[in-house]
């Protein structure tokens, strides 16, 4: 196959990646967009395979088949509620591949005594470091989200100093690799140090902040891909890498803005730290919290004309989305106007709630974004908060010192009645009490999210 044809195919693949991301700008075109992206990848891979009709062709094919099987099983089996950790895991695999690719081509060239231009070596070092950090960082993120590792931020004294030192050592090892490439042990040392760094970078970050980390790591792995492209002079790597890099950075920014926290604050586990040591808030709740039975709550719903549902992380944990859909349908069949208000960082991933509600067959045009939903709460009879906490905490407006100070929130407290479904009075991710639970117009419906909603539906049917 001629080089020109190969490069043309790579160009077509790049264009398909752009169309993929363009398609994602609307739910109507998103499915086709994703397929175009997959087609682009298929083209790029197929043409590369055809180009390399060589000994290890079977090895490659075996690898692709094995990888496809594993990936497909994961993708089909994973429940929607576990999406955040799935993305983290896949991201880790990507990082691992980069790490191994750089290693394989480096070892190969050294063992053959081939030429080792500085450009190549710099890229090997950079790809190795970013790959190792991404691999281990993503695995820790996966562990935290899956509950294999503690969700809490693990912070110890001098952590940042240790991380800085490790970072410095990796860079020095990288430089050494460039200057003294003859010794393959250099790459092993570099990978080892960067792996430790990857773990240590992520453990101080709390579970709910993982999406920021994943987006950032994803952006790094994109940039690592682009760097590889610079070395190989391969445009499809550069383009796809830049697209991914941009996407990760934009998502990170969006999340930070939606929490009114700086990236540094997220990455150094400051939010998490505050969370660990915060007050239980007894003096706020004492004697003011009104717990209600499903029947009492059903009475309130029976009188309502307009209901806004505000889902949060708890809905994902208890898999309550289908129950919520049934409740919404029941209310609508009685002529109640039902709307869903989704905060940009509700749950454990940007867009997490949207996916869950879509799974429960709730049409996407019924979901309102924060800016759209907030003016409506004043005309709302019942705001049903299910498993959300921080994103409806009025302290964000009133306490300029707290960990969520200035974070834009959903103004559920403006509604006539607020019904909060959760298991206890324990705090959300930010670790601070929520005065909303003690407000005059709030009723608490304690219990597991799914069960509570099912009880509510049953009670409502009695009316």
């Amino acid at each position: 196959m001629s080089g020109a044809l190969i490069n043309l195919t790579y160009l077509a693949a790049s264009a398909l990646f752009v169309f993929c991301l363009k398609g994602l700008s609307h739910p109507r075109t998103a499915v086709r967009g994703n397929l175009l992206g997959a087609l682009g990848m298929l083209l790029a891979v197929a043409v590369t395979l055809l180009d390399r009709q060589i000994v290890s062709f079977e090895v490659i094919l075996a690898g692709v088949l094995a990888g496809s099987a594993v990936g497909a099983v994961f993708a089909v089996k994973v429940p929607m509620t576990a999406m955040p950790q799935m993305v983290a895991l896949f991201n880790g695999f990507g990082g691992g591949a980069s790490l191994l690719v750089a290693g394989a081509s480096f070892l190969e060239t050294v063992s053959k005594g081939g030429p080792l231009p500085a450009q190549f070596l710099v890229a090997v070092a950079a790809t190795g470091i970013i790959g190792a950090v991404t691999f281990w960082g993503s695995l820790v993120a996966f562990g935290k989200l899956q509950g294999l590792v503690t969700e809490r931020a693990v912070v110890f004294r001098g952590q940042q100093a240790v991380n800085a030192a490790l970072g410095l050592v990796s860079v020095i090892l990288g430089a050494w690799l460039v200057l003294r490439p003859e010794d393959p042990a250099g790459y092993l040392a570099l990978s080892a140090v960067a792996s430790v760094l990857g773990v240590l970078l992520v453990i101080p970050i709390g579970g709910a902040d993982m999406p920021v980390v994943i987006a950032l790591l994803n952006s790094y792995s994109g940039l690592a891909g682009a760097a590889t492209g610079f070395v190989l002079g391969n445009n499809v790597l550069i383009i796809a890498g830049s697209l991914v890099g941009a996407s990760g950075i934009i998502l990170t920014r969006i999340m930070c803005l939606a929490m009114n926290r700086s990236l540094g604050n997220v990455l150094f586990g400051i939010g998490g730290t505050v969370g660990t040591g915060a007050a239980p808030g007894d003096e706020i709740y004492e004697g003011r919290v009104k717990a209600a039975s499903p029947e009492e709550v059903a009475m309130v719903f029976d009188a309502a004309r307009r209901v806004v549902v505000v889902p949060g992380y708890g809905m994902a944990v208890s898999q309550a989305q289908h129950a919520v859909r049934d409740l919404a349908n029941l209310l609508e069949s009685r002529g109640v106007e039902v709307e869903f208000a989704v905060h940009p960082v509700a749950g454990r991933m940007p867009g997490h709630m949207n996916v869950l509600l879509a799974e429960a067959n709730i049409p996407y045009d019924r979901l309102k974004e924060m800016d759209e939903a907030n003016p409506g709460f004043a005309q709302t009879d019942v705001a049903l908060v299910i498993g959300a906490n921080d994103v409806v905490n009025p302290l964000a407006r009133t306490d300029p010192e707290g960990p969520i100070a200035g974070m834009p929130i959903l103004d559920v407290d403006k509604a006539r009645t607020v019904v909060v479904v959760k298991r206890s009075l324990s705090p959300g991710f930010a670790g601070i009490p929520n005065p909303l639970f003690a407000a005059d117009n709030t009723l608490m419906l304690f219990g597991d999210g799914k069960k509570a909603i099912l009880d509510l539906v049953a009670a409502l049917k009695e009316f």
């Binding site: 499915v31 191994l100 994109g222 790597l237 941009a246």
Partner: protein, 95 residues
């Protein structure tokens, strides 16, 4: 040097395209965006193939094989899971 600047040109343009296109993705689709762009980052697979494709020592072959498996998991899993998610998004009329 010429080659580097040509690559840089492509990089700069691609970053522009990326920013313009991705800022248009609505919050509803941020999870699919994350998993989809993660799948695209599996383009390192091509890098893997390009370097795994040479004559090989056993070690490099093994590393290359594992790299290909990892990258394929990322790509296939990523696009499939995104497809599954997107298939669930429905407009009112479709119900």
């Amino acid at each position: 040097m010429e080659g580097l600047i040509a690559s840089l040109t492509v990089f700069v343009l691609a970053i522009f395209v990326g920013f313009e296109v991705i800022t248009k993705v609505p919050p509803t689709l941020h999870t699919p965006l994350m998993s989809g762009s993660n799948a695209i980052s599996g383009i390192t697979l091509v890098g893997a193939l390009l370097s795994a494709g040479h004559q090989h020592s056993l070690l490099a072959t093994v590393l290359g094989f594992v790299a290909v498996v990892f990258a394929t998991v990322n790509v296939v899993g990523g696009f499939l899971v995104t497809h599954r998610m997107l298939g669930m998004f429905r407009k009112k009329e479709d119900r």
